[in-house]
């Protein structure tokens, strides 16, 4: 049996197609992006080796740091919004009739493409005929702002559809984790006279701490890579007020034809997300909790 199961030819046949695909289309490009960052290159012509010049420019590029700051802000907002999702999940998982239906309704926006979501919210935010400003005008607000055209408001305005999109996803994860807590644990706490609030914060939340940590990493790392929705809604504008790292990279390469510099930004994005992953895992590391 062992001989049949260690047939090298068959193993290669089963593994190589997928392995080659991921090496050629994921791993080699990820290495090349760092290498292309060493070039002056318009994407079509010859590459010019210029050493670390792009990376030096990057370090002094205030537009890059501003877009990085926007990405970090989104990451912080996303991590904080987890508290709200957790609270909702605690309520949902506490013997609420129709909880299953509700969490499915919450999930619906998550199934839509970011492009469709962005287009829909462009209409919601439309300065004169949009849903939001129509409501505000009816409530007596005289001059509701053009949300996506105000540099001070645009990032917040973009964050609302992000919450709308992902709320159901995190609620789904928390709900599943909470449903896994054995009833006997909760019953024991009740007998000891714990209030529902105490049960939530002192028992349920610590018991799903591992899941919460995973979601923090997901929210932070996911936000750092955020692109589609912002690209469609504002293209990073007005005047860079909603630019994030990925959209800045895209703009440098495919709009300004600075493919070398764009690659350097892409490599920085890789380093920042890997750093954030390691950092978040360190920060949230602790002992396993036993039921």
């Amino acid at each position: 049996m062992k001989k049949v199961l260690s047939n090298k030819f068959i193993i290669a046949m089963y593994v190589l197609p997928a392995l080659l695909l991921i090496l050629i289309l994921v791993y080699i490009p990820i290495i090349l992006t760092g290498y292309y960052g060493l070039m002056r290159w318009d994407g079509i012509g010859e590459m010019d080796f210029i050493g670390l010049k792009n990376y030096q420019v990057l370090i002094g590029d205030s537009d890059f740091w501003e877009s990085t700051w926007h990405s970090i802000l989104l990451a912080i907002f996303s991590a904080l919004s987890l508290i709200g999702y957790l609270a909702i999940s605690l309520v949902l998982a506490a013997k609420i009739k129709g909880a299953n239906l509700l969490r499915k309704i919450y999930l619906i926006p998550m199934l839509l493409s970011s492009v469709a979501i962005a287009q829909l919210w462009l209409k919601i935010y439309h300065p004169t005929n949009g849903l939001l400003n129509s409501v505000l005008v009816r409530m007596g607000v005289d001059n509701p702002p053009a949300w996506l055209a105000e540099p001070s408001l645009v990032l917040g305005a973009i964050f609302v559809p992000i919450i709308w999109q992902y709320a159901g996803f995190y609620i789904l994860i928390y709900y599943a984790a909470l449903k896994n807590i054995p009833d006997s644990t909760i019953e024991a706490a009740k007998i000891d006279g714990a209030t529902p609030l105490q049960i939530s914060y002192l028992i349920k939340v610590p018991l799903i701490a591992n899941v919460i940590k995973v979601t923090i990493v997901l929210a932070v790392v996911g936000s750092l890579k955020y692109f589609d929705l912002i690209f469609v809604m504002t293209g990073g504008g007005p005047n860079g007020a909603s630019e994030v790292i990925a959209s800045y990279m895209y703009k440098q390469a495919f709009a300004s034809y600075n493919f070398g510099y764009g690659s350097a930004v892409g490599f920085a994005l890789l380093l920042i997300t890997l750093l954030a992953t390691v950092l978040m895992q360190r920060l949230t590391k602790s002992e396993e909790v036993q039921y």
Binding site: I11, P17, L19, P29, I108, S113, Q119, T128, A167
Partner: protein, 284 residues
């Protein structure tokens, strides 16, 4: 004593009432933008600009749908989305199943390393690969070719698909396969006739989440495809809306058409989708 008990139940009832109200309000916020979308997709511009945004269309303009479907290239984008999604999903699942089979059932030294390579792939931000991939496809003449899209979707969905399959393969009893080996069956026969059918439940889960990822993907198709004839809905609606940016009804109809297949699938397979999304939670 008795009155106190009655009081607490009354408070509990009010408390539950408040909680239900909060949950219902959240559900309303999640759903209402989509209802509003359907409403304005059936309006004329005159209605959008002059009447209340909450008003139902006086005379629903279903022809908005017919117009964008036939004149706006939306039928073409729709068809492209369907076949690109299906081909990429099928390719991803067959390749991922082969790898998972080799890793969990066959005996070789590098299996841990290869598995590690696939799992690290989960952490790679797709945008960092974009420029080199664009250059690569340009050099091998696959830019503006749907093959580039199918291969890219497959490559980037392999890690999450293998991860989900792996969990299932590891819990699956091996007796049947081992018996087949002893009976002298070939490995291919075992894989195709025993293992693949046994893993159907998890294959359907991965198929559904792959389908959602591919149907909604934007940045690769936007970067690698320039001809209208190969565009999918995500990029297609983006172009269409760029051209008809003032026709609310047409834009609404286009958006509804683009999200309808996913919503209909959700209506019938919501449990599978919930399971798939929870399982695929770690994808970047």
């Amino acid at each position: 004593m008795k009155t106190q008990q009655q009081e607490t139940t009354a408070i509990e009832k009010v408390g539950y009432g408040v909680l239900y109200l909060i949950l219902a309000v959240i559900a309303f916020f999640q759903i209402y933008p989509l209802i509003w979308l359907v409403i304005f997709s059936l309006k004329t511009n005159a209605e959008v600009f002059n009447a209340s945004p909450f008003a139902l269309p006086a005379d629903p303009k279903w022809e908005n749908y017919a117009t964008v479907w036939t004149q706006g290239n939306i039928s073409l984008y729709f068809f492209n989305s369907v076949w690109i999604t299906l081909v990429a999903v099928a390719l991803t699942i067959i390749l991922a199943s082969l790898v998972t089979f080799a890793i969990t059932r066959m005996i070789w030294k590098l299996s841990k390393l290869v598995l590690g390579l696939f799992m690290v792939g989960l952490m790679i931000p797709v945008h960092s690969t974009l420029i080199p991939l664009f250059d690569f496809f340009l050099n091998i003449n696959l830019i503006d070719n749907p093959l580039a899209i199918v291969l890219t979707y497959t490559a980037f969905n392999l890690p999450i698909t293998i991860m989900i399959l792996l969990g299932f393969y590891q819990t699956l009893p091996r007796e049947v396969e081992e018996a087949a080996v002893i009976d002298g069956s070939s490995i291919h026969r075992i894989f195709f006739q025993i293992t693949l059918p046994m893993t159907m439940p998890v294959i359907s889960t991965t198929a559904i989440i792959n389908m959602i990822y591919n149907w909604n993907e934007f940045v690769f198709i936007n970067t690698f495809i320039s001809s209208d004839k190969y565009k999918t809905l995500t990029v297609g609606i983006q172009n269409f809306i760029g051209q008809y940016s003032t026709d609310w009804g047409a834009i609404g109809a286009t958006l509804v058409i683009s999200i309808l297949p996913i919503l209909i699938t959700f209506l019938f397979l919501s449990n599978k989708i919930v399971e798939g999304i929870a399982a695929g939670a770690v994808k970047g």
